[in-house]
């Protein structure tokens, strides 16, 4: 489930009131601020690219090609976030972050890039837009949090937009994988058949179907986790504004 990349609730840029944990050092903080600013800028470039291409062509079709390179660059760049967790400058789980980033990278390279025929599908636009809006909000959220100056609007956006963006992204991803299936089966892409020296086989077509099936248990869990986070993070403010 990668549509809006979730990020676990505990990030170094924690917006909850208990900052008991010692955050990253000054050097690490500076690096992270630069990283998050660059990523915010990158996804803004993609957003602008999409809008300009749409205005130029007058249609939604084939917008993928106009932002293909920055999408690949910045989405792949997110792999660094796994490193950040592993090294400890970001207190999120390596496994969870790894899983989220890898699923995005998988869709970008192993599906959209590899199966040329799906690149003109509208479903691609669906998840690209979802990812773009989500990442702009997420990376600016981290940037402001690191600078200890988080505007409520950004916090609100991060914990609200996902309600629509997440299902939207999932829909785009699933439809894209589904569209890729016939081409993968026809060409035997990334598949290994018997007999061979290492007595191993792999059917990418079946694998993609299993990936699609895995969304069924995973998506609701992640979605409701974000819902619970939302109540926890945004709920406080409502309590303070109510006078008993």
């Amino acid at each position: 489930m990668s549509a809006p990349a979730m990020g676990t609730s505990k990030t170094a840029h924690s917006d909850s009131s208990n900052k008991k944990k010692k955050g990253p050092g000054t050097l690490a903080t500076a690096y992270l601020v630069i990283y998050n600013v660059v990523m915010t800028a990158g996804w803004l470039v993609i957003a602008v690219g999409l809008v300009r291409a749409y205005l130029a062509r007058g249609s939604y079709h084939g917008l993928y090609y106009s932002i293909e390179k920055p999408l690949k660059f910045f989405q792949t760049g997110a792999l660094l976030e796994i490193l950040h967790c592993a090294v400890g400058i970001v207190p999120s789980s390596v496994v969870l972050t790894g899983f989220q980033v890898m699923s995005r990278v998988f869709l970008t390279w192993a599906v959209t890039h590899s199966v040329r025929e799906v690149q003109s599908e509208d479903s691609v636009l669906l998840f690209v837009v979802a990812w773009t809006v989500t990442e702009i909000i997420r990376y600016s959220f981290y940037t402001f949090s690191l600078l200890n100056h988080l505007p409520y609007l950004i916090k609100w956006a991060r914990y609200t937009f996902f309600i629509v963006l997440y299902p939207m992204g999932v829909a785009g991803e699933l439809l894209t994988i589904y569209a890729a299936l016939p081409y993968v089966q026809k060409t035997g892409l990334y598949s290994i058949t018997l007999p061979n020296k290492y007595n191993f086989s792999f059917d990418y077509h079946t694998f993609l179907i299993l990936v699609m099936v895995s969304y069924i248990p995973l998506f609701p869990q992640l979605y409701f986790h974000m819902m619970r986070q939302r109540k926890k993070v945004l709920g406080h403010v409502e309590e303070y504004s109510k006078v008993e």
């Binding site: 018997l194 007999p195 061979n196 020296k197 290492y198 007595n199 191993f200 086989s201």
Partner: protein
């Protein structure tokens, strides 16, 4: 010093602090195990194996052997109870998780219908290494089953019920995956033929004997019915001399056996299984090594957890 005055025991729920049970006239030399049995009588759904009794709601579980009068409690002892959930005995788990691979592999070996194309139903492979592999795999799991029944002495009686599903998925799943390829009509025998197979078989058998020797040595460390822990040392059996260099040679030999089997079958799924098993055993070995170091001041410093000098 409290003389032989009978005690009172109250058991509270660790989370809600509700009074669950009050026991009157408890002997001071009663053990936690006996108290668990008494608690079980008033709450039949919580058999002793699923009871965690502790002095502090967030503290460590007390052992069954702990004696009431040796605990830091007054004449009325207050204990906290946590339900560990449904439990299943280690023996049951081991038998189930090992019987599966034994039978599943044989199903693939005999090419039971619906696995391979119908024309291959109940046929046998033309490669002799496939027959050898079946014998080795079967021998390995029969050995494990017999060791579970007759050799191992378990420190814990039970484990949580959900473990059986996790463990069986792992063992049965990998067994099916490996067996599918080794017994496949399109199986390709090892590149270096008889030489490779002979070396692999030697490694496999050597490590099977080694692993068994370690299990026997560990069993002999512990008298029947006891849960004592002692440092294992090399015995007269040369296969145990590896104790000089390694804390958990049973895992070392197990890795060796599967490396042998991988070499014998030249099958990538077997290599994956070996790798995953190695990672898990390394985690266990490191844990065991650490607890040996913590428990015994004079623990030999030359020893590594699982691989001599390396890991």
């Amino acid at each position: 010093i409290k003389h032989n005055k009978k005690r009172q025991v109250e058991i509270l729920d660790a989370k809600t602090k509700d009074k669950l049970c009050f026991l009157d006239k408890v002997e001071p030399n009663a053990t936690i195990g006996e108290i668990k049995s008494m608690f079980h009588k008033s709450h039949p759904q919580w058999y002793p194996a699923r009871q965690s009794i502790r002095l502090d709601p967030k503290g460590k579980s007390l052992k069954d052997e702990d004696v009431l009068q040796h605990l830091p409690v007054g004449t009325t002892a207050t204990f906290y109870f946590r339900d560990l959930g449904a439990q299943i005995s280690w023996v049951t788990v081991f038998l189930t998780e090992y019987a599966g691979p034994l039978l599943i592999y044989l199903m693939f070996y005999f090419r039971v219908p619906f696995i391979y194309a119908p024309k291959y139903d109940f046929t046998t492979s033309k490669h002799w290494v496939v027959h050898l592999a079946c014998m080795c795999h079967s021998f390995h799991y029969v050995k494990r089953l017999l060791e579970t029944l007759f050799v191992h002495r378990f420190s814990h009686g039970t484990m949580p019920l959900r473990n059986i599903f996790k463990n069986c998925t792992y063992y049965w799943g990998f067994a099916a995956w490996m067996a599918y390829y080794i017994n496949h009509p399109l199986y390709t025998p090892p590149t270096y033929g008889e030489q490779q197979i002979r070396l692999a078989l030697t490694v496999f058998l050597f490590c099977q004997i080694g692993n068994f020797s370690i299990h026997i040595a560990l069993r002999n460390l512990r008298p029947p019915g006891s849960k004592t822990r002692k440092i294992p040392y090399p015995t007269k059996n040369p296969f145990t001399w590896i104790f000089l260099l390694v804390s958990c040679p049973n895992y070392t030999y197990e890795l060796g056996s599967w490396l042998g089997f991988t070499l014998m079958t030249q099958c990538l799924p077997v290599a994956f299984f070996t790798l995953v098993g190695f990672i898990q055993m390394t985690v266990w070995a490191k844990g065991k090594h650490r607890s040996y170091l913590k428990e015994f001041r004079d623990y030999p410093t030359l020893r590594s957890p699982i691989l001599p000098f390396i890991l």
